[in-house]
Amino acid sequence: MPTQEEIYSKVSATLVEALNVDEEDIKPTSTLQGDLGAESIDFLDIVFRLEREFGIKIPRGELFPESIFQGDPDFVANGRVTPKGLEELRAKMPFADLTQFEKNPDVNKLSDLFTVDLITRYLHNKLSK
């Protein structure tokens, strides 16, 4: 079982390859889309690389759940994630830190949840099982 630092360092190297960014631009708090410029297709590329790097299988939607907020009025109302939506987020992404997001659950801020730290925590959870 690799340490959190070892996982972080491999995640960082993976993002350098997938997103063509410099290693020094990657911080634990960097958001994949906002800070590192990831586009939708890059998420699948990142998943493939993590699978190779860590020798694991990452099922569709496990690390980057894409379908939670697509047109479900129970989860999103008036541009904000509803309490039921937050519950769904907690269930689908137990590895996400929702503390900040819960204070202002603007649906446009959802992408900010996807940080380098989030990937590291996800892998740490997965590898420790």
Partner: protein, 166 residues
Amino acid sequence: MRWIWIDHFLEFHSGKYARTVKQLSLAEHHFAQHFPGYPVMPASLILEGLAQTGGILVGEASQFQEKVVLAKVPRAVFHREMLAGETLIYEAEILHLRPEGAAVNCRVLVEGQVTAEAEIFFAYLDQNRSQQLFGKDNFVFGGELRHIVERWTRKVDRAKSPAEGG
């Protein structure tokens, strides 16, 4: 000019690996300009040949039911220029194949030497969306690319039963 940048298949292992050949002929129009007196195969067209080899490999895995499009090239390295008169061998090996997309590792060889390497990432166009945009036809795997695969299939069939194939 037709947008076909491979000549034919040398090997095809469904869902795994394919090898094609591209003979660079001075008769090709682009060599007149790229460059006058020094006919270098443009790297972008080599990449296109690799993408066609890998794209057919990925498309065949779903019997060409999906529209496979090149989504990104995370890595491409060209070790030297490739000139008219040379024979390029394109290799494509599937790294990942999932319903959402595929990653393919590619190499170019000239006389057994690796002259270029690339990783190519393919996505499947969403069926509903692409039908709205492009109709029912599979424009990716139109007649010409399919023809190359079918020619290979016929060759394999003939090899299996030489008596029937004549």
